[in-house]
């Protein structure tokens, strides 16, 4: 498809969108002005609508396809959440408008804080982090602040299991820590011996998600907590996998001190092709003073306001210019309220049911499971190592071929420790019929891989483009259109 720029012509304009203004800049210093207009498209309104409508059709999405992308929780995003978050009263609110003019909005956020605290078993929550990774940053920064507040300056390491999401070690680094990676045992649990070996007075904390990104529940979690706590470290919970345990286990009960939650996963706010998300952090009692600001406080008179550094002098500080991704928070609130306690618990139950069912179907269909002896949580791993050896068809080839069957591919090559892996997360919002159809497609592709491996390796065929050349993209980076070639 043409680029939007290529639909343009010099001087074409969207008359209805041009504000009335005097075109002269008299009064602005000449040397501070732009001498050449920016390379923005010069198109008519219809061109824009047509171009982006057509572009949108070149996407797979939850609203059009099954999207079993592991670790991403691609579930249905209720449409009501979108319209309610976009009510004019919310959209037109200036972030610096006085609290008295936004009691409806602030009450909503306050209730969301309480809901998240209850669900995670934490003492307090701040909604300000703008995605999971920023939630992690806030969490690790609070761990750091806590140690510092106790004068415990020697703790320079954060322990991270090898199965962890990349944001965990990256966050630890951003927070100035050295990362100590520990291995996973054969059953997908943390290797306790290895943990005991690395833990010590230099340990600031351990980052973990449970169920882990391997799709299994870490059964020794209490022991892990004991080990880390005994060594003086704190326990960080990466909440990406909360969908698996909502209403069934609380991270607080497992012994975690800090948690972030991806509202754009568990609480069904949309991913929007890459964001915005929201990564609230919850903490246990002892970390409350360090929560990032602002968060919503309810005063004695029942009115709400944003608490800041004045109220929380020990806070790790601000993470955004205002108060995070407010519109995403509103969507999550709507979702949480529509489900209630029973509905949230059902999420975990049916997400787990769907994962185990699909895992069984695939196992019966001849696929090799990474952890055949374990229950799946809300996701599970298939390894195509054997298939690759036998046919040369890699997990990537397999994934591309699935696209031709009308399904988005599972996550590939993550977690890194399982070779040729597919991490599959069906979520609770898909029907059994869809899972069956997907299992059938998986089995069909496996058969194709055996019969006509070349066909699978050159997939996809029915998408808007054929297999893209990633190597060329990286070797000769073309990151921006720079105007028509004359």
């Amino acid at each position: 498809m043409k680029l939007i720029f290529e639909h343009g012509a010099p001087g074409r304009r969207t008359g209805a969108q041009w504000p009335q203004a005097d075109d002269a800049c008299t009064g602005l210093p000449e040397h501070l002005l732009r001498s050449q207009p920016p390379l923005l498209p010069e198109v008519a309104e219809m061109d824009v609508v047509r171009h982006y409508t057509r572009l949108s059709q070149r996407n797979y999405s939850i609203d059009t396809q099954f999207y079993p992308l592991g670790s991403c929780t691609m579930k249905y995003n209720p449409r009501a959440a979108n319209s309610l978050a976009m009510l004019p009263g919310f959209l037109t609110r200036h972030p610096l408008a006085p609290a008295s003019t936004g009691q409806g909005y602030l009450a909503t956020l306050h209730e969301l804080q309480l809901i998240l605290a209850e669900v995670t078993g934490m003492a307090g929550v701040s909604l300000t982090p703008m995605a999971g990774a920023q939630g992690e940053f806030a969490g690790v920064a609070m761990i750091r602040a806590w140690h510092a507040s106790r004068g415990d300056q020697g703790r320079r390491e954060i322990i991270v299991p090898d199965a962890a999401h990349g944001t965990n070690p990256a966050t630890a680094s951003m927070c100035g820590y050295t990362v100590r990676e520990i291995p996973t045992d054969r059953d997908g649990n943390v290797d306790l011996e290895a943990l005991r070996a690395v833990v010590g007075p230099q340990t600031a904390g351990l980052m973990l998600t449970n169920p882990s990104t391997l799709g299994v529940f870490e059964q020794q979690i209490r022991e892990i907590a004991r080990i880390v706590h005994t060594a003086g470290g704190l326990l960080y919970y990466d909440g990406a996998n909360l969908n698996a345990i909502l209403g069934r286990v609380k991270p607080g009960d497992m012994g975690f001190d800090v948690i972030h939650i991806n509202l754009h996963k568990t609480f069904a706010t949309p991913h929007g092709g890459g964001g915005p998300g929201s990564g609230p952090v919850g903490v246990s009692e002892r970390l409350l003073p360090f929560l990032p600001v602002p968060h919503v406080m309810r005063d004695a008179d029942g009115s709400y306001r944003l608490a800041d550094e004045d109220d929380f002098p020990h806070s790790i500080g601000r993470l955004s210019a205002f108060h995070g991704n407010a519109g995403v928070l509103l969507r999550a609130y709507v979702y949480a309220r529509m489900l209630g306690a029973q509905g949230l618990r059902r999420v975990a139950e049916y997400a787990t049911l769907n994962a185990n069912y699909l895992m069984k179907r695939l196992q019966d269909g001849g696929f090799e499971l990474a952890f055949p002896e374990r229950r799946a949580s809300h996701e599970f791993i298939v390894s195509l190592r054997r298939l690759k050896e036998e046919t040369g068809v890699s997990a990537m080839d397999f994934a591309k071929r699935l696209l031709d069957y009308g399904f988005h591919a599972p996550t590939t090559y993550f977690p890194l420790l399982v070779p040729e892996c597919l991490l599959i997360e069906p979520t609770e919002t898909e029907t059994c019929a869809t899972l069956d159809a997907f299992a059938d497609a998986m089995i069909a592709v496996a058969a194709e891989a055996r019969d006509t491996p070349g066909r699978v390796k050159a997939a996809p065929y029915s998408l808007p483009v054929r297999r893209l050349d990633d190597v060329k993209a990286a070797r000769e980076p073309d990151l921006a259109w720079r105007g028509p070639v004359l």
């Binding site: 498809m1 304009r13 041009w18 203004a21 602005l28 732009r34 920016p38 390379l39 498209p41 824009v48 996407n59 999405s61 209720p78 009501a80 309610l84 009510l87 959209l91 003019t101 936004g102 009691q103 409806g104 669900v119 990774a133 070690p169 990256a170 680094s173 100035g176 299994v216 529940f217 497992m254 929007g272 092709g273 890459g274 915005p276 990032p292 500080g317 955004s320 205002f322 995070g324 991704n325 949480a336 309220r337 529509m338 209630g340 306690a341 509905g343 059902r346 999420v347 139950e349 049916y350 049911l353 919002t429 059994c432 996809p460 808007p464 054929r466 297999r467 893209l468 990151l479 259109w481």
Partner: protein, 450 residues
Amino acid sequence: MPFIPHTEADLAAMLDLLQVPDLNALFDEIPPELGENVALDLPPALNEMEISRLMGERADADGRWLNFIGAGAYEHHIPAAVWQIATRGEFYSAYTPYQAEASQGTLQLIYEYQSMMASLTGMEVSNASLYDGASALAEAVLMAVRASKGAARVLIPAAVAPAYRAVVRTIVAPQGIELVELPYDPASGTTPLPEYADECAALVVPQPNFFGMLEDVDALTDWAHARGARVIALVNPLTLGVLKPPGQWGTSGADIAAGDGQPLGAPLSAGGPYYGLLTCRQALVRQMPGRLVGRTLDADGSTGYTLTLQAREQHIRRAKATSNICTNQGLVVAASTIYMSLLGPGGLRRAALASWQNTRMLVERLAGLPGVARAFAGAGFHECVLRLDRPVAPVLEALARQGILGGFDLGRDYPQLGHALLVCATETKTTADIGRYEQALAGILSEGKS
């Protein structure tokens, strides 16, 4: 069951295949002491009708205001097409485009965004967004320090928004980076050439600055470059419809540009979601945090788009990544790309000029009132600091009682400025609106007197 499609029959058949008696059995690996007594104490569930009513009442209760606050979030007209298209399911409910062939819509859009933002800021490379302007500035600081061999020290003017400075502090402090605050000139409200001799990695240059004043970006840029420091431009992208792009500042241009994309199509929305823009010179691309989309070819030789240079990112480089960022602000970028396409270079210029002209009118009218004066002399853009003859807070409260949000009180962040008020009027304000503010303020100020 809201959003869960299973029928009784489905459940039975699925449990049957799994050979378990019930759903509880699927959780049998969870130690009983953890899982057995969990209960959630939450407000009762509401159906869609009920939650719609609740949210509608809350949104209505918050009312409608005639808004003259800017201070980092700006009320601009957003064409109706922008969000009608951005919220199409195919954009709204897609994930990060990891499977490129199934995500050409999002990928091409981001490529177009990168092209627009690169040109708007006059830089060679734009990433696909960061969280917001403040965190983008923090990432720019980290980037500049990484790229520099020398001191982990960055100069940041006091004329940068206080909230931005606070965020930078939070984010860069754990890495031991020193932030040195540069004072502003009390007469002009701009940042003079620093009297600072030590080595530093970068200088932040805001344009316009938090007071709405125009900095002498050329001189500041050349000053920094002469000292081997990199220049981080902090810009409002809408003003770049008129103002000189960072890539052309001084003799050789700024090195990195950051800012908040909100003015380009994101509603005020109580502070978010907005997005952080980040652009840089080609030479710094491998220090760039965040996603990048590249144009490439497919197996048939047709053009297509894909995420690229991912080796910088956390999912590949892990502890050594350029940043921990993963999810960014994709949908807002989609809206913003549509916004920029709709306005084009001419429309953006007009939006910037109209905002500037309206602010000028507002300031002339308000500063004409007894007890009100401009705090700074010199050229500004679409914000301006006024100095009142009395405390600002009660005046703002009185204005609010008349439905007017009169601006941002600078008292807390800049006590040395006295009774200072930051006001803003974008293209959304009419002469009548400005007249309404003037009259209301005149009334309040004269009342107070009598």
